[in-house]
């Protein structure tokens, strides 16, 4: 079989297996999603604000909750495979490890990032956002969650040999994700005030591309060290 086809076969096999795994264990997807919906929806009730204030604080709260709920999912990225021994078999396969890591990141984003993006318009409506503002929010969350999957992969792989590493992963990833949080929330606010959103979008897409260029390699190297 040609090398290129073999690589595609390996990538799709890893991607499909992880999606199947998420499908058979829906709690891994639903728990962070319900956390995101509950806290985001509870905020307007707890903080007694009028419509104008709600529109102003909405983007920041949605973004913070999106990142926090997303951090809950990172632990499962490699730890489950390490615990049941699958990680050894993945590392010993003839496929390049960074390619398999990328497949896992893509499956993680589909199962964790995409549901969050799909559900976010409902939260936007709770925060009295206009339809066009919701579209901008979706675009920022698209780049932001994918960047989080990429950067989170490095954090998750670095803590692979540590028990109960959920908090440690969050501590490692959160500071690196601050620029995305700032630009993501600020881009929506700027759109609401009538300013241009392109600079924010450019930054977030560039951040995403930068993370995409090194995250699979850094994660693969960290996994090899963690297996030792």
């Amino acid at each position: 079989m040609p090398k290129r086809l073999t690589l595609i076969r390996g990538f799709t096999a890893m991607f499909r297996r992880d999606l199947l795994q998420y499908k058979k264990r829906p709690s891994q997807i639903l728990n962070p999603l319900i956390f995101f919906i509950m806290i985001s929806a509870a905020f307007p009730f707890a903080v007694n604000t009028d419509q104008t204030q709600l529109v102003q604080i909405g983007p920041g709260i949605i973004w913070i909750m999106a990142i926090l709920s997303y951090l809950l999912t990172l632990h499962h990225l490699y730890n489950d495979d390490a615990e049941d021994g699958c990680l050894d078999y993945i590392m010993l396969s003839p496929q390049p490890l960074p390619l398999l890591v990328l497949a896992k990141i893509c499956a993680h984003w589909i199962s964790s990032g995409l549901p969050l993006i799909i559900i976010s318009p409902i939260i936007g409506i709770i925060y009295q956002m206009q339809v066009d503002t919701i579209l901008i929010m979706i675009a920022t969350l698209f780049f932001g969650t994918f960047a989080l999957s990429l950067v989170g992969s490095i954090g998750a792989s670095l803590t692979i040999s540590i028990d109960n590493s959920n908090i440690l992963v969050s501590l490692l990833v959160l500071p690196i994700m601050m620029p995305v949080l700032i630009f993501g929330a600020r881009t929506i606010e700027l759109y609401q005030s009538g300013a241009t959103t392109m600079s924010g979008m450019y930054f977030m897409s560039a951040y995403c591309m930068f993370a995409l260029s090194f995250s699979p390699f850094a994660s693969a190297a960290a996994l090899r060290i963690g297996a030792d």
């Binding site: 076969r9 390996g10 499909r16 297996r17 199947l20 699958c86 050894d88 993945i90």
Partner: protein, 204 residues
């Protein structure tokens, strides 16, 4: 070219404990090497270092006169690995797990029905892995071996949890592999089971 695994001056520590020091050996086609020793003597670690999962303090591990660290992918095409952990996803069935590996390791999936039949797993092939007994899980690991056609097998306690019948099937599969010019490094507490072994290393 005949396949050859060469270990030279291998030294490995776990924390402050030296598991083995300046260990050297070589095996070629048709060889079955047994690694024995009490619990904690480093059998699994030795297999993991031969697989390239653990980096030794000193020494070199070569496959066909080339260090295994030079071209990992080529080396991985030639090895099969069975460890204590089964390496199957608990929520997926045997069939789903093996299909994934067939794609990942580029081996043919055509003979799967025959192999599952031989290992008495046909009835259980669509049941989630977590619902299988310990022995059935071990048999599923053996199915992985029978499907994969790689030259070097690294097996860590492959007969644990197997009944007498399954042990016989495993020995048949192993003998087929060895007689087809395969190589095998096998860690076990029961070396007497493998009377056809060509050499034994005892770790203390």
């Amino acid at each position: 070219m005949s396949n050859r695994l060469t270990i030279e001056n291998l030294t490995l520590f776990r924390g402050d404990k030296c598991l083995f020091k300046n260990t050297s050996f070589a095996i070629t086609q048709g060889d079955l090497l047994l690694v024995t020793g009490p619990n904690g003597s480093g059998k699994t670690t030795m297999l993991r270092s031969i697989a390239g999962l653990v980096e030794p303090e000193t020494g070199t591990i070569s496959w066909n006169q080339q260090s295994i660290l030079v071209n990992r992918q080529t080396y991985h095409e030639d090895i099969s690995w069975i460890s204590h952990n089964h390496g199957f996803k608990s929520s997926l069935s045997i069939l789903e797990n093996l299909e994934f590996e067939a794609h990942l390791y580029n081996y043919s999936f055509d003979k799967i029905d025959n192999i599952l039949e031989r290992l008495s797993l046909t009835v259980n092939k669509n049941i989630p892995f977590k619902f299988l007994s310990a022995g059935q899980k071990r048999r599923a690991s053996l199915a992985r071996l029978a499907l994969n056609k790689s030259s070097l097998w690294l097996l860590d306690e492959p007969t644990s949890n197997l009944d007498a019948h399954a042990q016989d099937i495993f020995k048949e599969i192993l003998n087929e592999h060895i007689s087809n010019n395969g190589l095998c490094v096998l860690a076990t507490h029961h070396p007497e089971v493998f009377e056809d072994s060509t050499s034994i290393i005892e770790l203390n």
